[in-house]
């Protein structure tokens, strides 16, 4: 059975920067990112995940390593 339609909302929250708890920072709509060494990385995706735990094997991007770090 189809659920009843939701009331259309005025404006759905859709932030450009999203902090994932114990995870990366999601960044929407960036064209380039400068890392801690000053290197500039071109962005080709609509969303990227920037590592916040500093343990990624491919900084500045998150590679999922944060999940195996004991908290």
């Amino acid at each position: 059975m189809t659920p009843p339609p939701r009331e259309p909302e005025e404006r759905i929250e859709h932030p450009d920067l999203v902090v994932v708890p114990d995870g990366p920072l999601l960044v929407r709509g960036a064209a380039s990112i400068q890392d801690a060494e000053g290197r500039v990385h071109e962005v080709v995706r609509p969303v990227v995940a920037l590592c916040r735990c500093d343990k990624s094997s491919r900084l500045p991007w998150c590679d999922g390593t944060h999940k195996v770090i004991p908290r």
Binding site: P3, P46, V47, C62, D63
Partner: protein, 323 residues
């Protein structure tokens, strides 16, 4: 692609029917024979689903919606779905989360997953032939990677729909055909000396490979199963980036780097993003907007993990490695 090789009386019956359509379109084929076993049923269902993807050179395109064909497909799908649901029902740590708890419940389910890791073996010890065999099995899905989830797009509420498109856009290369994931895998197959054509290794597909493919097609093709399809997607993405990195290391160790390593390399970064989108923006909002989907989201995620575990266990047997 031509119809695959039959693996028993049922698949033979189904493939004959497919090849004889539409000449036999007024023909009522009567009841299909009972399958000779799970592989027979699985290859039959795989081919029936394939009619909705790329079809076969030796089958009329209209076969996809032929009632006699749909009747067999439905029986096989019902059988598969009940098997998958029974496995979920038997899972000891099964939970029924409230809609708000869905993302956390998905994370817990993935964290508990303790199936064998093929990527670990590829990284450390697998030899070249073993890795090539794994890639042949993986090719059955990776050459149509993401396609089953695309069927779900029109069936989702606003927020989940936008998020799924954000994810799929990246899966499909962000507008660049060279970065389309299934195409990257095809180039990888060529680079390691395997056949890149879609469906090239279906006749070698293990039962577990076929079932894994049939499950994801089943979830993608039925609007009723949209929650399960999105849960499946989430679990898939959540268990991809770290193993993909190990695959890159293993491929390089075996001097199979290049285009195939590039495919896995792309997944390290992409799936670290996709897992966040799938978990919160797709599954989380879907559960909030359609609370009755919550349990199926978990069922779909469990199915993805369980199928990978069964596949990995079987591959270890094929590789003759004790788990």
């Amino acid at each position: 692609m031509m119809c695959p090789k039959p693996r028993g009386v049922l698949s033979e019956w189904v493939f004959d029917l497919l090849r004889e359509l539409p000449e036999r379109d007024a023909w009522r084929p009567g009841a299909a024979p009972t399958a000779d076993g799970q592989e027979d049923a699985a290859i039959a269902l795989w081919a029936l689903h394939e009619l909705s993807y790329g079809g076969f050179e030796d089958v009329d395109d209209r076969a996809e919606w032929e009632p006699a064909v749909l009747a067999v497909r439905r029986d096989l799908e019902d059988e598969l779905e009940s098997r998958l649901r029974e496995r979920w029902a038997a899972y000891p740590s099964r939970t029924t989360p409230s809609p708000e708890e869905v993302p956390a419940a998905l994370e817990a389910l993935v964290a508990e997953d303790d199936g064998p890791s093929l990527a670990d073996l590829v990284r450390r010890t697998a030899d070249r032939d073993q890795v090539l065999e794994l890639l042949r099995q993986r090719s059955v899905y990776h050459l149509k990677e993401s396609d089953p989830a695309t069927w779900v797009v029109p069936r989702l509420p606003v927020r989940a729909k936008a998020a799924l498109m954000e994810l799929q856009y990246d899966e499909y290369g962000d507008g660049d055909p060279n970065r389309l994931h299934s195409h990257m895998f095809a180039r990888g197959l060529t680079a390691v000396g395997l056949r890149p054509e879609y469906g090239a290794y279906v006749d070698d597909a293990l039962l577990e490979t076929l079932e894994m493919n049939n499950a994801v097609s089943l979830l993608g093709l039925h609007r009723r199963l949209r929650g399960a399809a999105m849960g499946h997607l989430a679990a898939f993405e959540m268990t991809s980036s770290l193993p993909s990195r190990k695959m890159v290391q293993g491929l390089e160790r075996l001097e199979l780097g290049g285009a195939m390593a590039a495919y896995y390399d792309e997944h390290v970064e992409a799936d670290a993003i996709h897992e966040q989108l799938a978990l919160r923006d797709i599954c989380g909002t879907l559960a909030e907007d359609e609370p009755d989907q919550s349990e199926d989201i978990l069922f779909g995620a469990f199915t993805a993990l369980d199928q990978e575990c069964r596949f990995a266990t079987r591959m270890l047997e094929v590789w003759d490695v004790a788990s």
